[in-house]
């Protein structure tokens, strides 16, 4: 434990000096989050400095190997980093689909060259990625990929359409599932490829949500030429990569937009509202929500602890299901607590829009119903 104590002391000292005051407000909102990427506009110098300093240490992706831009930290060290950051209420320096999803998949399935090429820019926040899985009409049936990639010497020629690509209009690259064998059974003819969004033939169209925002796009591929070495994993084995990545996506979404870890207790939020806790039903719901949120936060920790020795696998469906349903409850409760103040679009710092956005949590990345079916069949081994 001495090594860890020393690490903690060092970390604390470093953070004291290097975390800009402005970055110590602990806020995680659509407005304060740093997504990075070629076209990223920093909201302040402090945001830029904080990213640069953390990236230089590899602490934007603390557990990745140093060779690929990570911090090379052990799970125990990673926990200490998180704890020390939480202690000073530090913002996360960088969030991205590259960190949450593509990175883990590349570390597992990528070649050494691919890792060297793609991971460090993710770690430094230089390249922003988006995900191209869903297709129009496919819904929960992710394997029904229609976008086709035909071999054209050392390239693929990609044609088709993706939907629900998060921030595709702001991303630099996309990782996508494409069909490379149309005659094979549907899970067996899919490949996982990386496409530069600036390639000719790629276009996007934002989808307006009920929240009034457009975090998702439709993405179109019209004869897009993509080098074959940008495929991750074997040809026609992309479903393996996709499944692996999905478990990471579930874990990511289950965190519920910062509502759980580091988020303020919902009851405390309600207590600050004029009438937030003045009826028995709201007080009871806030208590239950807080109990469940704390237990869920511990569960995320426990699963991460467990992931050190064995993959989480299908149980990640639980994290996804429970975390997103909880985040919906949390927002529902804040809306009720806010009363008529939270009915105008600009009320409570845009709470109505956040609330409506949460309704997609239990749909995107696999619906709650799909998660429950996964648990039923693969964990409980019920028939059917």
């Amino acid at each position: 434990m001495d090594d860890l104590a020393a690490f903690r002391a060092e970390m604390r000292a470093w953070l004291d000096i290097n975390c800009p005051e402005e970055m110590r407000d602990g806020q995680v909102t659509e407005e304060t989050i740093c997504w990075g990427g070629k076209r990223w506009k920093f909201t302040s110098d402090a945001q830029r400095i904080w990213l640069d300093r953390m990236a230089a240490k590899g602490w934007t992706v603390p557990s990745w190997p140093e060779a690929y831009g990570g911090g090379g930290l052990s799970r125990a060290q990673d926990k200490i980093l998180k704890e020390e950051m939480a202690r000073i209420n530090a913002r996360s320096p960088l969030e991205s689909f590259g960190i949450w999803m593509l990175g883990p998949a590349l570390l597992h399935f990528g070649t050494h060259e691919q890792k060297l090429e793609y991971l460090p820019p993710i770690a430094r926040g230089e390249v922003r990625w988006c995900q191209g899985y869903s297709e129009p009409g496919a819904g929960s049936d992710l394997a029904s990929v229609q976008t086709k990639a035909e071999i054209d010497s050392d390239h693929y020629l990609v044609n088709g359409q993706k939907v629900w690509t998060s921030y595709a209009d702001k991303a630099d690259w996309i990782f996508a599932l494409v069909r490379t064998d149309k005659d094979a059974p549907k899970h067996k003819g899919i490949s996982f490829i990386l496409i530069d969004m600036s390639t000719e033939g790629v276009s996007t169209r934002p989808i307006r949500l009920i929240s009034g925002k457009s975090p998702f796009c439709e993405t179109f591929f019209d004869n897009v030429r993509t080098p074959r070495h940008q495929r991750v994993g074997d040809e026609n084995r992309g479903w393996d990569v996709a499944k692996y990545l999905l478990t990471h996506e579930r874990e990511m979404i289950s965190g519920g937009g910062g509502g759980l870890l580091g988020g303020r207790p919902v009851g405390a939020v309600l207590a600050e509202m004029a009438h937030g806790l003045d009826t028995a039903d709201r007080r009871a719901a806030a208590m239950e929500c807080e109990v469940d949120s704390l237990a869920m936060a511990l569960t995320l920790e426990r699963y991460k602890d467990q992931a050190e020795t064995q993959p989480i696998g299908d149980a990640s469906a639980m994290l996804k299901y429970y975390g997103t349903e909880l985040n919906k409850r949390r927002h529902e409760l804040m809306m009720e607590g806010g009363g008529s103040d939270a009915l105008a679009w600009d009320g409570h710092d845009g709470l109505p829009s956040d609330w409506l956005r949460t309704k997609a949590n239990s749909i995107e990345g696999g619906t709650s119903e799909v998660m429950l079916s996964i648990i039923s069949r693969r964990v409980l081994e019920l028939p059917g």
Partner: protein
């Protein structure tokens, strides 16, 4: 009490309303108004007047159709199904009920104008984030023979379109209800830009002059006039929400039959079937409370509080469940602005808060039931 089953006349009224609204105000009508940044449609309002709807609670002697509260609920329910946006509740239900409590010529004239569709009323009651009429603080200070009103109101539904406002104010010995023209000097109205794309205002009163003639009912005794009006509004709003829930459920059941996943209609999945069936049960149970509230208001209004609060509490929960299940069962498409389900969800949230939320009304039920 009269049967809780709808009478033949009521069924006919509902059918007629439905067929008019399907044409004149389907959900697309609300969408169009939203896209054009409008919150009031004068044409629709005048059609409602022609149909006798604006006079649904106006005595025949004042030119109304005087169909009663159960009928008003039936109209509201049909409006809820396609999210019809109009000042029906504010004006034809609440203001009309308030004015009816006062037997004088001015009230009678006002009622006639309501029946004719010539005037729009809004209630300026709430001051904080929750409905709490007894706690109104807007001050009406004596000034000569009259008053000066100063303070702020919020969540005044239909407040921007309104010609007149029913303003709840604090006077020396209690609360007093004023009936003021909305454009009187010192009254400032700001649109609230609500998520349901409907009309609501924040209203400030800066030293607004009012005379004794502007008082509706008696000074220091607002509730004699306002309580029946609020209860009528709560019952009609509950009916609107029941209609909203029915509309969302219908849309969802339709989608369950039509949408295929993994090769079968998703409505064949038992987990969804049972949830849809449960929702239908909730809607059925709520329907009884809605009809009961209308009957009580028509037959024994003085004792209707329990029935009204029961209806609003139930309708709030049912509508909330209907829109949650509606969006979730639709999946991605339900989240898009291009699809109509989101309109149901947003209106359900606003209606949940208007005129008292679930906890407010469930608390009234509990108190009236002895705990």
């Amino acid at each position: 009490m009269t049967s809780l089953q709808k009478t033949e006349d009521e069924v006919m009224l509902a059918d007629a309303a439905r067929s008019f609204l399907d044409d004149a105000a389907p959900i697309g009508h609300l969408r169009k108004m939203r896209d054009e940044c409008r919150t009031y449609d004068a044409e629709l309002w005048s059609q409602m007047a022609e149909l006798g709807w604006t006079g649904v609670l106006v005595p025949e002697s004042a030119g109304g159709s005087d169909m009663g509260h159960a009928a008003a609920g039936i109209l509201a329910e049909e409006m809820g199904k396609t999210l019809v946006s109009s000042p029906f509740l504010s004006t034809a239900v609440m203001a009309a009920t308030a004015l009816r409590q006062v037997a004088d010529d001015r009230a009678s004239d006002a009622l006639r104008k309501i029946a004719e569709g010539q005037v729009i009323y809004a209630l300026a009651v709430d001051e904080t984030s929750k409905h709490e009429p007894d706690a109104a603080e807007l001050a009406a200070t004596p000034d000569g023979n009259g008053f000066r009103l100063s303070g702020t109101k919020t969540f005044a539904c239909d407040g921007m379109a309104a010609d007149r406002l029913l303003v709840l104010a604090k006077t020396d010995e209690g609360l007093t209800l004023f009936d003021l023209p909305a454009n009187r000097d010192g009254i400032n109205r700001d649109p609230m830009d609500l998520i349901d794309s409907r009309d609501a205002a924040r209203i400030t009163f800066e030293d607004v002059a009012a005379t004794g003639d502007d008082v509706l009912g008696q000074v220091d005794d607002a509730m004699t006039v306002l309580k029946p009006a609020l209860e009528a509004g709560q019952a009609a709003l509950a009916a609107e929400m029941a209609g909203l829930a029915a509309g969302a459920l219908d849309m969802t059941v339709g989608y369950l039959k039509e949408r295929k996943q993994f090769g079968v209609p998703i409505g064949a999945f038992q987990a969804l079937q049972h949830r849809a069936a449960h929702l239908w049960c909730e809607a059925e149970v709520t329907a009884s409370a809605i009809t009961n509230a209308g009957r009580m208001l028509d037959e024994n209004a003085a004792e209707a509080t329990l029935a009204v609060s029961l209806a609003k509490a139930r309708a709030t929960k049912t509508a909330e469940l209907a829109v949650k299940e509606g969006v979730q069962m639709h999946g991605g498409i339900g989240m898009t602005d291009a699809y109509d389900m989101g309109f149901y969800m947003k209106r359900a949230r606003v209606a949940a808060e208007w005129l008292g939320d679930y906890g407010y009304h469930a608390g009234k039920v509990a108190a009236l039931r002895g705990f």
